[in-house]
């Protein structure tokens, strides 16, 4: 196969794979903002906790990282659920209006960032730690990709689909959708709004944790690693429209492809390109590509 086609394949499929990671990172944050109205600046810390827990379970207990998903996901869900029931619920009671709640929840999540990072530092130490899993090449049309990236994309699609179906088909899902559109009416219609909001925050945290579990197969971990993923997640959810889960998914894929294209031209501009596109989009289309 001619080299140029392989190169295009590399960029296109590579972009999709990178996008899969971004989508996975961003979906949880999108859910938390879209329904629970918390722009969670400690999102990256949940990714970090998921990653470190996996490392511990895998290297100390010997549990396969993919099995870790079903252990760590629910635990972090519970943490997120309780956090919302206590902290963010209290905040919403005290806030005079929606804007004030949005602001105070950002700040509270920023406080959480400090707390979680410090606890991780005390628990896991400051050092770089890493393991690798499923780190071998798989050939797609002559271009080679590492297997763990394909697995991440697979899970990203899977989780997105499962959640989509959950929202569309189940009673709780319908409650969540109603709450996202109009909390006041939803609660009149008998939806337990507090429970729904806490559920969504919990699901968002769990998705971050799962992203951490999966992504830890590829990257070195340390307690300060979370912030950069929070920023990526913010970019993605703005791209896809604040609060839209399919938007976050497609936004992630688009950002991944943009990332690979810019990297192939001048890697030193990759992050600048992310920020530039993100701000441009905010200016011309603040509701995101798929926002209504």
């Amino acid at each position: 196969m001619p080299e140029s086609i392989v190169n295009i394949l590399d960029i296109a499929i590579g972009g999709l794979l990178l996008g899969g990671i971004y989508a996975l990172i961003a979906m949880g944050m999108s859910l938390q903002y879209g329904v629970a109205r918390v722009l969670n600046f400690s999102h990256g810390e949940f990714i970090m906790v998921g990653a470190f827990s996996t490392l511990t379970l895998y290297t100390v207990v010997g549990i396969n990282p993919l099995i870790c998903l079903v252990i760590i996901g629910p635990v972090i869900f519970l943490i997120g659920f309780l956090l919302h029931r206590t902290l963010f619920h209290q905040l919403s009671l005290r806030a005079p209006n929606a804007d004030a709640y949005a602001a105070s929840s950002i700040l509270a999540s920023f406080g959480l960032l400090f707390i979680i990072q410090n606890l991780a530092l005390l628990g896991w130490g400051a050092d770089y730690q890493a393991y690798t899993y499923l780190n071998f090449g798989v050939s797609i049309g002559g271009a080679i990709f590492s297997a763990n990236k394909l697995v991440i994309l697979g899970f990203s699609i899977g989780i997105g689909l499962i959640f989509y179906i959950f929202l569309a088909r189940t009673r709780t899902g319908k409650g969540i959708r109603a709450a996202a559109q109009d909390p006041a009416t939803a609660s009149l219609m008998g939806v337990n709004i507090n429970r729904v909001l806490a559920l969504c925050f919990g699901f968002g945290a769990a998705m971050a944790g799962i992203a951490g579990v999966l992504y830890s197969m590829r990257i070195p971990l340390n307690p300060a690693m979370g912030t950069q993923y929070t920023i990526i997640a913010i970019i993605v959810i703005v791209l896809g429209g604040l609060g839209s889960i399919p938007g976050a998914f497609i936004g992630g894929l688009i950002l991944g492809i943009i990332g690979e294209v810019v990297t192939s031209i001048d890697p030193s501009l990759s992050m600048a390109a992310y920020y530039f596109i993100f701000m441009l989009l905010l200016l011309v289309r603040p509701k995101g590509i798929f926002g209504k």
Partner: protein
């Protein structure tokens, strides 16, 4: 809000207290140790940023996270014009340049973000910090081939006086804007933007001008602060944390009163210093806990808390007498 009602009677006492504090600060280098001068310079730096932030965000209700961008622009102005090899311009001119550069950026950003409200504005201003940092890094890397800049060292007392001068300026600006029609216009934007514009307030103009004024002080503060750092690179000049701290300090102190942000900044920064030096291991943890508790239980800040306690005491008295 409250200030107007008791200005006739109660104007002297706060005035006198302010004067005493001011006199104490001006003569501080005479009786305080050098480290106290440095520490209070740091506290004033945070106070400047916090009051500048409240100047725009506190009054209009637009939560800006661009503080680090303007502060960083100021720092970089010093890095460019006050190299260690010798100052190219007088320090005060560089401070002015730092302020003006920041306010020009704020003016541009303000004009661009007219359509954005609420969370969108907040996210945009946050993006401004990281975008400017990356672009600057790229410019330094590929055009100048320099990724580190040494800044000339300036006498600590000099830095202190410039910082104090800026503090006085920003407080006066804050004081007069709050009392002026302009301030009233801003507050009505904060309360109800559409109603404000129906009332004939040029909402756009008021917003942009205040954003630029607030950015001016942030930039000027950054420019003089840079002379303390002695060395800077784009990553160190634009720290996201600097965007959040003034917001937290303002909330901690309470935005309902003119002294609130100052008290918040001073106590918060002092707390940070104490935690960092005395409890290094759990500094971030305790910092985070204080933060969360402050947001939860002090919605009107320390000043609000004091007011509440005072009201309870004086209310209690009235019941008994």
């Amino acid at each position: 809000m409250d200030t107007t009602r008791f200005k006739s009677k109660g104007f002297y006492i706060p005035g006198i207290i302010t004067l005493i504090i001011f006199a104490g600060l001006v003569t501080l280098p005479l009786f305080g140790s050098l480290y106290n001068v440095i520490l209070i310079t740091t506290l004033l730096m945070y106070a400047n940023l916090t009051v500048s932030w409240v100047l725009f965000s506190g009054l209009t209700g637009y939560m800006s996270l661009a503080t680090a961008a303007f502060f960083g622009v100021g720092i970089y102005a010093s890095a460019l014009f006050l190299p260690i090899t010798g100052a190219e311009l007088p320090i005060l001119v560089v401070v002015l340049i730092g302020g003006l550069a920041s306010s020009i950026i704020a003016f541009g950003a303000g004009a661009l973000t007219l359509r954005l409200r609420g969370i969108y504005f907040t996210i945009f201003t946050f993006g401004l910090v990281v975008l400017i940092m990356e672009l600057l890094n790229w410019w330094e890397l590929s055009v100048n081939k320099i990724l580190n800049r040494y800044i000339m060292l300036v006498d600590n007392n000099y830095i202190f006086y410039v910082m104090l001068g800026l503090f006085v300026l920003v407080m006066l600006t804050f004081f007069f804007i709050r009392r002026s029609k302009f301030g009233l216009a801003m507050r009505s934007i904060g309360e109800n933007e559409e109603a404000a514009s129906h009332m004939g307030i040029n909402v756009t103009m008021v917003k942009i001008v205040t954003f630029a004024i607030s950015a001016f002080f942030m930039g000027a503060t950054g420019a003089i602060w840079a002379t303390k750092l002695s060395y800077i690179n784009p990553h160190e000049a634009f720290k996201v944390l600097i965007s959040f701290l003034p917001v937290l300090m303002a909330i901690f102190g309470g935005m309902g009163h003119i002294y609130g942000p100052v008290i918040g900044a001073v106590i918060f920064a002092y707390l940070q210093e104490t935690l960092q030096t005395k409890f290094s291991e759990i500094y971030m943890l305790s910092f985070g806990v204080v933060l969360v508790l402050a947001i939860l239980y002090m919605p009107h800040g320390l000043v609000g808390l004091i007011q509440k306690v005072w009201r309870r005491i004086s209310g209690g008295k009235r019941v008994h007498t």
